[in-house]
């Protein structure tokens, strides 16, 4: 076992080291792109603070206040250095607030939303995908395929509004919007989850159908194993492997993908913070958001790769 642990340690260290240039690249790109936006953030900040007449002096004053009078690279390195000290600066539109504080305020709501969505995704797509494969081409499978097709095609904001109309108004079951308790979480989480559920149903179904044609299934049948055991312990287990990798990427996607839903459901999360910051050219907040999402992707990608490496003996053997 020692060689294995040694190899694993090396693998993990290599992967961790590789994330450093990746994160630097992300931070630099996000800084560059945001600075390419033509509007002057100092002027926009003044507009957002609703100054009716914006004079050149006022712009110059604000630019100095926000540190925008420094050259681009100086600003980048100052920002990077501060980021490493967990100081993400102040919001341009509301200088009384720190960016870290804003993200800290909004992130929990988004995590709740993404968390419940993930539960929906797993709880719904697993049995439906499984059953669709088992009962391939039956009525159930055909209906599900139709549903999957439709939900993938419907834009999220529309689904959200339809759900509010149906569940909140017509059935009078849940609040329309806002943040307050589990009842207000159900609809937005379901809206976020819907397109993922469709994706995963398709993925699980197709994987299972592929696996069913594999020789080991025939072998298992030949050994006289029970049908249920073959389906669950062999076919499903093997089919889920690529799903696990996909879930690893879906988690940060769920966190970053709540922007539209948060707006429709008045959910006070980072997505809404991000939209407001983009409209207000609030550079420090946009940068922090992009960086956060970048770090999440890198982290989850890494974590799930390592997880697979640990879980799947075949991967380890190939590497060694």
């Amino acid at each position: 076992m020692t060689w294995l642990e040694h190899g694993m340690k090396n693998y993990i260290i290599m992967r961790l080291l590789a994330t450093i240039p990746l994160l630097l690249g992300i931070s630099f790109l996000c800084f560059v792109f945001i600075n390419l936006i033509p509007s002057d953030p100092a002027e926009v900040a003044l507009r957002i603070r609703q100054t009716p007449i914006i004079t050149e002096e006022l712009i110059a004053q604000t630019r100095a206040e926000l540190g925008l009078d420094q050259p681009f690279l100086v600003r980048y390195f100052v920002w990077l250095w501060d980021c490493l000290h967990f100081d993400l600066g102040f919001s341009y539109t509301n200088p009384a607030r720190t960016v870290l504080g804003e993200i800290g305020r909004c992130l929990p709501a988004t995590l709740e939303l993404a968390g419940l969505s993930l539960v929906y995704v797993i709880v719904l797509s697993l049995p439906i995908g499984f059953l669709s494969a088992v009962y391939k081409d039956t009525l159930f499978d055909r209906i599900m395929r139709g549903v999957v097709f439709a939900t993938t095609a419907m834009p999220v904001y529309w689904v959200g509004l339809l759900l509010i109309w149906l569940i909140s108004i017509k059935c009078d079951l849940l609040p329309t919007s806002g943040y307050g308790g589990f009842s207000s979480l159900i609809l937005p989480a379901f809206t976020v989850a819907l397109s993922y559920i469709s994706t995963y149903i398709r993925l699980i179904r197709n994987n299972m159908l592929e696996n069913m044609r594999e020789d080991y299934v025939l072998y298992a049948q030949a050994r006289g194993l029970k049908q249920r055991a073959i389906l669950v312990r062999h076919i499903l287990k093997n089919s889920l492997q690529s799903c696990v990798t996909a879930i690893g990427m879906s988690i940060p996607q769920l966190i970053a993908g709540t922007i539209v839903v948060e707006n429709v459901f008045a959910w006070p999360g980072v997505g809404r913070l991000c939209i407001a910051s983009i409209f207000n050219r609030d550079y420090p907040v946009i940068q922090a958001y992009v960086l956060l999402v970048g770090v999440l992707f890198v982290f989850f990608n890494l974590a799930f790769d390592i997880l697979q490496y640990v879980a799947d003996p075949r991967l380890r053997e190939r590497k060694s």
């Binding site: 033509p38 509007s39 002057d40 002027e43 507009r47 957002i48 603070r49 609703q50 100054t51 009716p52 007449i53 004079t55 006022l58 004053q61 539109t93 509301n94 009384a96 305020r105 909004c106 709880v123 049995p127 499984f130 059953l131 088992v134 009962y135 391939k136 904001y157 509004l161 509010i164 109309w165 569940i167 909140s168 108004i169 059935c171 009078d172 079951l173 849940l174 609040p175 329309t176 919007s177 806002g178 943040y179 589990f182 009842s183 159900i186 069913m212 049908q227 249920r228 389906l231 707006n263 429709v264 459901f265 008045a266 006070p268 809404r272 913070l273 407001a276 409209f279 207000n280 050219r281």
Partner: protein, 530 residues
Amino acid sequence: MKTSRFWKEALVATVLTGSLCVGGVALAAEQKSDTLNFVNYRDVRDLNPHLYAGEMYAQEMLYETLVDITADGYKPCLAESWDISPDGKVYTFHIRKGVTFTDGTPCDAYAIKANFDAILENRARHTWLEMMHLLEKVDAPDAHTFRIFMKAPYWPMLTELGVTRPFAMISPAAMKDGSTKDGVKAYIGTGPYKLTKVVTDEYAVFEANENYWGEQPKIKRIVVKVIPDNQTRILALEKGEIDLIWGKNMLDADALNKYRDNKDFGIAMSTPTSTRHIVLNGQNPVLADIAVRKALQHATNRVAIAKGVFHNTELPADTLYARSVPYCDIDLPPYEYDMEKAARILDEAGWKPGSDGVREKDGKRMELGLLYNSNSVTEKTIAEYLQHEYGKLGIRVSLRGEEEQSYRDNMKNGLFDMIFNICWGMPYDPQSSMAAMRQRVYGDYAAQLALPDKKEIDAAITEIMSSTDPARRQELFTFALTHLHEDAIYIPLTYETNKALFSSRLKGVGFTQTQYEVPFVKMSFEAAKP
């Protein structure tokens, strides 16, 4: 594969559990009380009354000014009365006795002086108000007298003192060492309501100020929920989660129209607050020709726009400012909709259709860009309609939608041929918005720059500001507005209005002269039926 009962059962169980969860939650009964649930599209943000970053309706609830601007002129507020010296340079305000801030601090002349000191410390920030350039000093000789000394007379003085900000009074105890420019400790005013709770981006709670000097508001508690999406707001109203949607851009015409005949909901619409118009850039070689500008005016069917786009929730506008705006009740002949006349004007001016139907003259083709704010659905609709209409005349219009900030950049820098705009509205119209035409801050400056009478117009505006004689002021306004109208540089479209959609148990929903003030004090709930 053989079917298995196990999986069928599992599926049924999952569905059942799921529906039970949902059902259980729904049992949480909805409670109605005498709380008014209001809605806004964003958070109240920083309610420092001396800065501009907060929501104005909330500032109006918390803070008060020396005078009130009403439809019948200036009314006393924190100042019970005032005198203006004959030379128009000294304003003496007699401060209302017995008014306290909600923290118990008396709101006397000294407190008002402290507020002015804090505002003047940050003078550069407020120079959009012309009076800031003219204000010399302030003093408080005793607890009930407050004086402002000016370098020169300035007639819109009381209006500027009465607008929502910056001359609203906050408790000196809430200032940071007598200063407010870097923030305040708490939002403490003298107004009819006090702020009791804010959860950022979710809601804010206002409660009636039981020590209010004026009429006690009937509605004791107001919760303002934050719902950014237009459709969701309306759905929340329909569900009864909110009682009132109020504002200019909070409701679209289709939504209002839908509830017009619905007994459960009421609709209210204000008099014009501001004018939606298109600014023509006089520096553009095609638009430099006044005949082209006049032809465009005649080719614009304002009635059709008001009806088709706004279902008449905004009425057609004939002039840059509505006649209800002070000093703007002037007889200006409107440019009536007449396509033949428009074509004739262009023909006579030498703009002849080329081989592809687009008119041209001296090698210049009639191709114009129309810039709109892509966040505004109505502007896009109007733009498409006008593109079609102007096209019939042989004017090729290309549309360009830009996101709000870059739309504003383009407007300020004069990077447009034609652009949508809305004037500042009451109570800033006409004096403050016309004062701003003289500087490169909005599209007006660039658009007017090439006008031969630009200098005369600017001179008239400058004289207006210091003129103490109302008759002379009217004369000057008439001069400037007539010139701008005859120059045909603005195509007025419709008069924007404040709109409200509310639960029919809410009574007294209306509007004031200040377009951002939601008059909660006048509202009440219908007595509950037994």
